[in-house]
Symmetry: C2
Subunit: 305 residues, 2 copies
Amino acid sequence: MEPFKIHILGCGSALPTLRHNPSAQVVELRGKQFMIDCGEGTQTQMRRSRIGFNKVVAIFISHIHGDHCFGLIGMLSSFGLLGRTMPLAIYAPKEFKPVLDMMLKTFCYDFDYEIQFHAVDTTKQQVIYEDRSLTVESIPLKHRLPTCGFLFREKPTLPHIRRDMIDFYHIPVSQINNIKNGASWTDEEGREIPNSRLTTPADPARSYAYCSDTCYLPSLHERVAGVSCLYHESTYITADIDRAELYYHSTAAQAAQVARDANVGRLLLGHYSSKYDDEQQLLKEAQEVFPESQLTAEGMTIDLK
Amino acid sequence: MEPFKIHILGCGSALPTLRHNPSAQVVELRGKQFMIDCGEGTQTQMRRSRIGFNKVVAIFISHIHGDHCFGLIGMLSSFGLLGRTMPLAIYAPKEFKPVLDMMLKTFCYDFDYEIQFHAVDTTKQQVIYEDRSLTVESIPLKHRLPTCGFLFREKPTLPHIRRDMIDFYHIPVSQINNIKNGASWTDEEGREIPNSRLTTPADPARSYAYCSDTCYLPSLHERVAGVSCLYHESTYITADIDRAELYYHSTAAQAAQVARDANVGRLLLGHYSSKYDDEQQLLKEAQEVFPESQLTAEGMTIDLK
């Protein structure tokens, strides 16, 4: 199975500390990398995680609070200094464009690659990116300004060829793609061998939903139903639910409730408030609601097997 | 003697690496902190160096290349999140104002402190900041866009009182300030005791010049003549002098030549190209010209005794 990786580059919240960098992740599938959010220091975190700069094809910014985008201009600048020529797509709320344009005009006027800005409508769930291997959808969230999450869905892959059957029926290599695509085989004696005998089922398509920042949304589970992996912000413990409500953030238990209601494969916690010295209480409260919860940390890579 | 400290937060150049952060320093004198340049990650470097955020009264930006200012908006944002109310002065080339204003409007609209922008004329050497303890002058430099250095001059301090003489002549405490300011003393028998007998000379006033980025300027030594400490960029080794000339940077030997010609107390090297795995060759080449040369490194503090 092709790796479908999520690299955690930062899982802190508004205030960078020595324990946590602000939000940034890289999703990696079939040789392409997709960045989600880009807090200050992300380019250094990429170096620390040994993630090359050359495979990043698109960057998705959830909302324009600084802890989700202050690292972007430095990273774009480094891409340019390192001689990038491959175009780069940036998906973000439309409010980001004026400030991004101004920064690019001031700091990146002499680079050799094109930046293609795509304004994302944060109020709709719709496909905003598509290639051969995956689609990315926006997920409307509710925060203090226009915000959306992103849902990465791997496209269905083809069934696996049964090498033993191919040999047994002397099927030529030229037919393998047809069989992968569902064809049956007629042997020399005119017998039809059904496709189901020649293949084993495709790997299930995997999916990853990133939801940050948001207050608890009781209907969010419908938008992320059944994903293999959900990242949902968990800024606060339940004792600080007043703060969560005041700042349009979520508690770890609320994140877990979304995960449980959506029946996801696993839940990743992050966007931790800097007021906590460690995140064990967040984990405990999430696992009480949804056992398949885990903490993220800088440098961690999750592979969706 | 009051500490006059220079904290090195970053001494790399355009490309941040795992070895070096981009340019940033903090000058500290009499309880006030002055930041010079503010590359990406500076706020984290401050935390790492245990430098509080509350004593920074002014920030001086030498020029608007990203490696000298990409960390500013994040730091200003964190100041706001931490409840700063004290105004903050920013001194920078006028070209910085439009992009700074746009970033502040987008990201820092709800903070409780005032940012006072002062456009610096990078073509003149003149006092741009003054308080009770020091002046800061701009130093014209020559780079690919308007750039200046900054010269911090401590104001002359008062002579030291000789406690033994004060006791010997029974001079009342009320007179100490007068004597510090140069008064003599007339004793009960009408004899005049000269000031020179009651005091020892003041500590010499210290000074620090920061020169980055610049090509080698043969007359720069006149502007920084006799400073206690000079920081001069030393991006390249002599073998790479073509690059230095192409990009308007200096070699370590050129930095040392300025230091020698200016007869400074010591030279700090920095703004190292990321192409070198270590900086020993830079140090060697500088010391051959000016022995009192030293490398800077992140986390280092220099106290000008």
